[in-house]
């Protein structure tokens, strides 16, 4: 059984990492083609002077951070309100919250495109210029990000002891002070988890961006997609390798810190047991 488990894990990981290893190897490929002709590091240098790639990276980061920050603020506020609601109104709003998550992405993308096309016609009729670009991208990303924040914050609010807020207000806090002095500290892990989730989904998104992007600013995924129709520049491989290594390092660090904490807790527990034992 053990040997089977090991082999199975090995084969599975090989499957999971095969294309990633290929991508990393080809980031060092001399030629632009899909056959390996020789080793080079030049793509890692050229990457930073490629205006199209750098612009796409900038767009991706701006859209991700702006939309995640707005989504986190709006989502946290929404979760607090929802936590105090009951009945049909609450389940109606929750239904709208689940929709973008369970709907196929292409439906979300297409529905935004329809909205923005209609808005463009309508605003154009009023003489207001409106184009696909920053605004449409950011609106779309905020919309699919908010649900993740709400769903991360709501459970933390439910776990919170409601009398904490009452105590704060008895001691003279107003609503806002009760929030900044008490509530926010209780639900912080949920807010952070929601923010990070939103950031990841936003940076990784292709489908929704594809239907809401303008002619001028493309996100990285949209740029990569247009490249896959012809040939992906090895610069993109180089950029992805850099991102991959950074994420890997962050995860390893987090994991090591956690492992140390687990071990510490275990040691402490053992010690306590030993002390308890000496009493008996």
């Amino acid at each position: 059984m053990r040997a089977f488990a090991r082999t199975y894990l090995g084969v599975f990981m090989a499957f999971l990492y095969a294309p990633i290893i290929v991508l990393i190897v080809f980031s060092f490929n001399e030629s632009k083609g899909r056959t390996f002709t020789g080793f080079t590091g030049k793509w890692y240098v050229q990457l930073f002077s490629d205006a199209a790639v750098m612009d796409a990276l900038f767009t991706t980061l701006v859209v991700a951070f702006v939309s995640s920050i707005v989504a986190t603020i709006m989502g946290t506020a929404a979760a607090i309100g929802l936590n105090n609601m009951e009945g049909k109104l609450k389940s109606g709003i929750m239904g709208m919250t689940y929709l973008p998550i369970i709907n196929p992405e292409i439906i979300t993308g297409v529905s935004f495109m329809l909205l923005f096309v209609v808005a463009k016609d309508f605003l154009g009729g009023l003489g207001v210029p409106f184009q696909f670009g920053w605004a449409t991208l950011i609106i779309a990303h905020i919309t699919f990000n908010v649900p993740y924040v709400i769903l991360n914050v709501l459970p933390k609010l439910r776990q919170m002891d409601g009398s904490l807020v009452d105590a704060a207000m008895d001691l003279g806090c107003n609503h806002w002070q009760a929030f900044t002095k008490v509530v926010i500290h209780e639900i912080k892990p949920g807010i952070i988890a929601g923010f990070i989730m939103a950031l990841t989904f936003s940076m990784d998104d292709f489908v929704v961006s594809y239907f809401t992007t303008g002619a001028k600013h493309q996100t990285l995924s949209v740029l990569i997609y247009s490249m896959t129709k012809k040939r992906v520049s090895p610069e993109i491989n180089a950029l992805s390798t850099i991102i991959f290594v950074v994420v890997l390092l962050i995860l390893i660090t987090v994991n090591l810190v956690e492992r140390r904490n687990i071990n510490k807790a275990r040691k402490a527990q053992l010690e306590r047991k030993r002390e308890g034992g000496s009493f008996g």
Binding site: Y17, I20, L82, M85, P104, L114, D166, T228, L251, E258
Partner: protein
Amino acid sequence: MRVKASSYPYVAWALLFVAIPLGLIVYFSFTDAAGSFTLDNIIQAGIYSNVIIKSVWLSVISTVICLLLGYPLAYIMSRSNPITARTILLLVMLPMWMNFLLRTYGWMTILENNGILNQFFGLFGLGPFEMINTQGAVVLGMVYNYIPFMILPLHSVMSKIGNDVIEAAQDLGASPISVLSEVVVPLSMPGIKTGIIMVFVPAVSTFIISQMLGGGGNQLIGDIIELQFLGNAYNPNLGSAISLVLMVLVLMVMSVSGFLSDDNLEERVL
């Protein structure tokens, strides 16, 4: 603090950017370019029934393969110590941080007619095999991209099955197979359901995997929708009608599996 008003900005936002856009899909489905009522789009969408059947078929195959491959992995994770399980989970999640278009492009490099696999087979005088631009390649792409969505819910359910439950079954004389079929599988049913939905929905609506790995001959519903909105065939009314069909299809699968009435929906989707 019994404030409700703090959720109003979000409610307004969701009405404007979730409810109205979906309403527009319905509206466009039943109108023509001039804006008058018609059923033509829905009827025309019927022309693509072959594509719809093919999409459903390929995603069902992919979902089954994801379950068959993901289940043993989730089981292994649930029976190993917490640190090992965590490491495996991280390894499963890590590829998702590399852009999925690029990972799929990586598969193109592997599967091509003069790609890495065929060069390898060539060493033994075999092939070249035609792997890219086949339905098999599309299924591979779906399995590859969506299997983490199967493993995550399976893992979260199975890690809660205590070793004592399994040991109790063994003590009572259950064979390894009946431990699996009578104890482990029934207890992990909620995870199986969620996993199936989380794989099936993106698989049935994809348009990138079919374009990159399936060539021109393996169009799926997603490709047809994309074509109506961003392709040469620009026809948002027909595109909306096909989108509506896709939405109804997905909702049907969800309600049949009991996914929507699940009390723990919140836990399931995260």
